[in-house]
Each structure stands twice: as structure tokens, then as C-alpha cells.
Symmetry: D2
Subunit: 253 residues, 4 copies
């Protein structure tokens, strides 16, 4: 039987602010990438998010970022590998403490936004993230972009990796995501998103923005928690997966 | 043989800033209260401080604060117990990760500045801190002001506590510190500081600001890491303790 | 003819976050209290808010706060009068620059949240705010709570003041607001809010939470921009004011 | 008679932290680039710095930065031109308010660190800064790197510009500074720094890192306020300038 994980970014509120779809998404995904305070997610939000994820039996991953609340972690920052490593240790440790406090264990790490994109292209950044993970807890899995050096670098550092694909983002022919600043970067037609997701899981390819076909082998599909259509997309995905007998289950145990 | 711990606040730099006495103090104290990013201490500073403390075999404690870099955590903030609890979990978790990454274990928690003073008077805050500690790691010890509800509340929550006294701060007759905003709050005459410290350890009392005698039973003596005289004070203390056969050793193991 | 100003807190987004009712409220109020970056409101949000207010011919006031994004400026902070004065100069200057850049002039200052409440009770804080206003631009008006020392202190410092009343907040018998942490602090029944507002304007009193009557003489009525009912309340207010021939117009020109 | 301005970065403390050479540098330079809170400089520090500069009759410029206290504004950040423009308006406005409060006027703007370096190469960033300056106060002068598009772009936007050269930084053959991350980027031999400065002013050239000669026409020479030798360098410079009959005076009036 085919199994796939669904992951979404959750707990991306801060102080008085909340992004709205958290509660609904938690009922639909199998893995939650929880913000750790650097691009979103303050201690109260983290506690609340971990607590809800535990109640829903959703597996928890850390979603560390550059320190850039103002830019929601989506702007590249020329931080050194040494700085990146320390930032990841800090954020993963903070979230792990909330997991422990709620009787669960942090399972994986997925870098956020501009840090994720950098790690997909910059070996030094990817290795810094892997070293941080290994030093905090070598059993943590790195969830990263399928087919990029982010995963090979992490594996070379001795970290287990899981591959993800993005159902609502356009791909470049080399397997990288089309940057959000470019037109067509974010997809919003639900039927075609669902179709794309099914192909990723069952036929193991995605059509890049130039029309070429690219092989993907996802352990997990990402749906953006902050997108306006996120809940609708995941609902549609799950319905279709049900029909096709594809089981939704966490990649990490 | 009489044994006493010496603790100091360390790692209180941030970004480009460093407080100067860290390296020297680490050679002199037995326990380091390491800032966790909320009043001072960024991830790089935390890493550097933990690494040095490990090299010096100095026991590491977390020094969590209100989120107030601008005020160095020294201004009271009307945070709720729920907020305080989450802030402490976050900071302790972050520092514990750096300890793990350097092959050591976090041993204790000592709240910083205005949060410390609040916990010494406000049972709700003291219990929030104790709950945070217990939920992250119930073997962590709370280091707090001797003779205050901060310690009794923590003990009632099931947390081990250690008592500290301040060698360079004036005391109120009820055992609380004289606030820094008042004249005479911080002592700077080294011979009388040393005399005071010896009395605390060997005769178990301190003379309060009104001349009354107050019993203290310190497990640890605190010297302020950011004071201009800190290094000179600790040097003088250690010399005198040596002469008197008082052993300096960590209260936590 | 009776005239009253309506003011609301606007521009209280930050980074990726927005509070939703801004655009609608701008069409309904005559004065906008614009966040200045310390409790909400980043430079882009400030620019956007000033630009929209100018387009709507809404008068602009600065809404300075304690530096507490995490607590949305709603938690008291033991900042010194000297610190408060510097914080207000900084925030007012920053917003004034956006006003100038959009061809308008900043008209007034209304402190936010916990700083507002402190200024209503603490003469030292009220004078610090008044000194800050005077030093930046002595023609700026302080908008503050009717009947409190906040206004008398400012007037004594030579600052023009305007009095405001809160249509959706319960009053204590001494004219102060019931703190948000207490039950009944925020009113939500629109018909009774409207009734209350009409009485404030035409009969010049409000019924305090203990049933006693308190005189008010508002130049402006405040509706909370971040309340879920804010838009509905202002709509209902304006409708009723229209019927009664009460003109809505800015207190500042 | 030859005249030259000397400028230094001042007011780069934050909260409890201070960089040490401020008071001495203020006695030696003719223009002060004052930090505005984004990479350093909180409201109290800004007030203190402006007050001292006024007392010393030192001309005041704003020193706006990317929002990166953690990195001291020295790391490039992929902020959009729109964001940069808003950041500069905000910071310039805040500092201008402190100038007004101390009876003086802000005279110029010099971007800090990574923002400065970006503006020297990226026309979009340079124009954003110029637009910000023009919108706040079109009489403000942009102080920027001699021979770069930073100045031509600003001039094209209608802003007056002043050219600066760096006495203690190595140059690339194209007139840009050698990045701090590269060896040899910062010079520290005082006699050769002085020689270099004299040549810049009297012979109008600098020897780049590859040995080639590059023309410079500085209105101002920059000495880094945070360098350990800063005070010694400026002292030596002034002494030599005195001997040569070169007058030190602000470029802005």
C-alpha cells in the first residue's frame, strides 16, 4: 500500500497575531513544522501548538529560520555557517523542550523559508544545519527538498533525511522551487494541485515550469500552512488519496 | 570541611557586544549562570560560553529572563505566570541544547534580574518557574534567594533547590535585596565584601541595611559578572577562602 | 451643532501579520492612532497606513508604546521616565517622517496600552510623555483619558490636550478603565455601546461599573481597532449620530 | 586652504552595552554618523549621543541600517527597495526628532554596514535610500562612497551628495572596499594610515589592494568608531593635518 506524509507549517503566530488555519490543518496533516521564534512562533504559541499537535497525534518537527521576524524568514541573510549552526541549535533546543514538557519527542527538523532555500543550494549552510541537528540529537531527521544537496550534505554528516515535494509551488527544471518573487511561483488551482500531488506520489515526477519532467520521490508532501487555500488544498488531497487508497501517515515515527 | 559554591552571570554579550570579564571569571567560579537570549546572550555567545565553561569544568546553569534586551532584563514586566512559564521552558531548552552539543548537561536554573526579584516575592511567578523547570527536566535544580518564597514554592512543586546569597548587594531586613535603584544597593569595598562573604559562609548571617542581623545558609555565593570589580572581588574571595580552608566547589554535580 | 471625533488604533500589523479591519475603519473614523513599531507597526505598515489615512483625509496621531511586540504593549513595564521620554521621541519622530513623506503633518499623540494606563495614574510617566511631545513638536496635541492626571500633567507642561472616552470599555468609579484582565472590561453589546456613546456626547456622563454616574466631556470617542466588533460598532455609532445630527469631525486640524 | 571633514560612527551602544571610544571621538571628528536603532543605538543612546554631539558642535548625520542588531548590520539582507526605503524613512525620522529635541538639525544620512555596501553596488537600493531621504527632508545630504553609483544614483534623484574615503580600509581597484571577511580589509598601521589619508586629501588618490592607483576626491574621511585604534588614528590624523595646514571642518553646514 502506498503511504505518504503530509506536512504543513504551523504555529506561525506571534504575540497578538495568529495565522488562522492552524486548528483545521492539524486535523488534516500527519506532520507539523513548528515555528521556533525566529521568523514566527513565540513561547506561548509554541506551547499551544505542541499541545494541540500532541492531542491530534501529529508528529512534530522544528522549523528553524534566520532571525527575521520582520521579513517572516523569507529574505536571504548573509549569516555565516557558524551563525546558522548556532541558530539551529538554539531553536531546535527550545522547541524540543516544549515537546518534552508535553510528553512527546521532537522528530525532525525542516528549515524555514530563505534558510531552506539557501540550504538547498549552499553546501556550507546545509552542513551547518546538519551539524546542528547531530549535536542536539542525532536521531532527528532532516526533512528537505527532494533532489538537492541539502539532503546529500546532511546524509554525509550522518543525519537521516526525508525527502519532500511541494504541491503548490512551481519547480525549476533543476528541482529547485521557483522563488516567490517570480510570477507563477505559487499555484492556486486546487484540481491541478491535487493532480500534481497524485503524480508525485504514484508516478514520481513533477512538471517543471519549463514543461520538462523531473523525477521526485517524496516521503512527504508540503502544503503551506499560511496560504489562503491551504485547508481547502489538504482537504481535497486527502479526499483524493482516500479514493486512490493512498494512506496518509507520518514519515517519522 | 566547609564547602561553598561561587556563581556568576556569564555569557551576557549580544551580537557585536561583549562584557569583558567572562574569561577571567570562568577561571574563578564553580558555577556559571549563562544568559539565554532574552536579556543578553545570543546563540553564538551561548555556544562560546558553554564551550569555555566545559573547558574550565565549570557547572552550567540557565539564566532565563523576561524578554527585555533593551532593559537587560532589569525592569519588571507584567507578564502572566503562563507567559513566564513558557519563557522559561523556551530559554532553558535552548541552553540545554548547547550543553548537549558540547557533551555536558545543564545542571540548574537561576532566573535573572527583574524576574528573579519577582519570583522572590510573587508565589505565582515562582510556581510558574518551577513548573517550567519540572516540565523540561525534573532533575534541574532551582538556584534562588535564600530565605524567600521563591525556594519554598519551587520545593512545593517538587523541584530541588539551592540557596544563594549575594556578596556585593545590600539586604533588606526581610532577606530581600535592596533594589538597584536605591542608594547603597551595590557594595564595592572589597575588604568588607570579603568579610561579609566569610560571615555568610562560616557564621551564617548577614547584616541588613538597617543594621539588623539576618540568618543565611548559602549553598552558593553570587558575584555579579557584569560589575566592574567582579574579577577583583572573586579573586579576593578565593584567596581568603583558601586561607580559611573553605573549599570552592559546585553545589550541583 | 454637536461635533465629536472618532478615533481608532490603526496600522497594528507587523511583518507578515495584519489586523483585518484597518481599511474599513479608515472609512469610518476621523482620527487614526498609528502604531510606531514598538508594540506593532513596522516601517512598511506605517507607510501603508499613513498613505491610506491621507487618501481618506483621516487625521493622523502617533500611538507610541513600551517596547513590547511580544505583549502588544499591553503589559506594564517598569521603564523610567527618562526611558519613556526617549521612547516617545523616537516613535513620534519615526511616524512624523512618514507623514512628511506623504505630504501631511502628524497632529497628535495618544500613548498605547499599558503606557496609556500608566500615564493615566503616574504623573512622572505623564510628564515624560508631555516633555517628549513638546521637544519634538510643541504644536502636537496629547489625546488622553478624560478626567485623569495624564491630561492635567500634560497641560502643566504646556501641551495642548484633547479628552477621549471609550465607548466599549467599562469604567471604574474614579474615571479609569477597568483593566482588560477583569471580567466585564470590554463591552460587546452594540445597542448599549451606542447608547453609552450618545450619552457621553450629549449628556456628558458614563455609568461606571459600580452603577455610579461619572461626568465625561469627550473631544473624541475611541473604538478599538483590533476588536472583532470594531467596524460594526463604528457603523452603528455613525448611523445613530447622523440621526441625532451629531457631526463626526477630527478634534485636531 | 585645504579643508576636510572627519566622520566616525557614534552612538553604537544598545541597552546595557556601550562601545568605548565615543566621548573621545566626539572631541576629534567634525561629523558624527549616529546609529538609529536598527543595528545599534537605542532611544536613550541616541539621545545621549545627540546631546553630546551638540555640546561638541559636531555635525550630526543619520546612520540607518538593515534591521539586524544580532549582526550589527554587517550582513547583507535581501530586503526589497520598498523595504529599504521605509526602513530609512523610519530611522532618519527617529533621529531627526532627537536632533530637534536638542535644538539642532539633522544634516546628512550615511547608510551603515551591509546596506552601505549594497547601495554602493545596487542602483535599486541606492535609489530607495535617496527617495527616502528626499521624502523626509530634501535638504539632507547623502554621504557615500566616492566614485560609486551610490552617489550618482542619489544625485539623479535630486539629492545633494558628499563623497567619503576610508582611511583604514583596503580598496578594490574599482573603488569599492575590500569586504571585512577578507584578509587585509582593515588597516591598522597608524603611520601608513596617516600617509594614505594625506594623499587622499592633497594628491587625491589611493593605492588599491592590487597596487593600482585610484582617484578619490573626498569631502570627508571616515574613521571607524568601533575600531580599537580609532581614537589613536584620528589623533594622529589631526596632528598631521595641523602640521600641513589642512583644516578639519564639517562638509555640511
Amino acid at each position: 500500500m502506498t503511504t505518504i506524509d503530509l506536512n504543513a507549517d504551523l504555529g506561525e503566530g506571534f504575540g497578538r497575531y495568529r495565522l488562522e488555519s492552524d486548528a483545521e490543518l492539524l486535523a488534516l496533516v500527519s506532520s507539523a513544522n513548528v515555528a521556533c521564534g525566529f521568523h514566527a512562533g513565540d513561547p506561548l504559541v509554541m506551547r499551544e501548538t505542541v499541545s494541540r499537535a500532541v492531542a491530534r497525534r501529529v508528529v512534530i518537527g522544528a522549523h528553524p529560520s534566520y532571525p527575521d521576524l520582520l521579513g517572516f524568514g523569507r529574505r536571504d541573510l548573509a549569516a555565516s555557517p557558524e551563525e546558522i549552526e548556532a541558530y539551529v541549535v538554539y531553536q531546535v533546543g527550545a522547541l524540543a523542550a516544549f515537546c518534552g514538557a508535553h510528553g512527546t519527542k521532537l522528530s525532525y527538523v525542516k528549515p524555514h523559508g530563505a534558510l531552506y532555500n539557501r540550504a538547498a543550494r549552499d553546501g556550507g549552510a546545509a552542513r551547518a544545519i546538519a551539524r546542528a541537528i547531530r549535536s542536539v540529537d542525532p536521531t532527528l531527521i532532516l526533512l528537505g527538498l527532494d533532489g538537492t544537496s541539502m539532503l546529500t550534505e546532511a546524509a554525509a554528516e550522518g543525519i537521516d533525511v526525508a525527502r519532500e515535494a511541494f504541491v503548490d509551488r512551481a519547480y525549476q527544471p533543476d528541482g529547485h522551487l521557483v522563488p516567490r518573487t517570480q510570477p507563477g511561483a505559487v499555484l492556486d488551482d486546487i484540481p491541478s494541485i491535487v493532480e500534481r500531488a497524485v503524480r508525485m506520489v504514484t508516478e514520481r515526477f513533477v512538471i517543471a515550469i519549463d514543461g520538462t519532467r523531473r523525477i521526485v520521490r517524496p516521503d512527504s508532501l508540503c502544503v503551506h500552512g499560511d496560504g489562503s487555500h491551504a485547508v481547502a488544498i489538504v482537504r481535497a488531497l486527502r479526499e483524493r488519496f482516500d479514493t486512490l487508497g493512498i494512506d496518509v501517515a507520518p514519515f517519522a515515527r
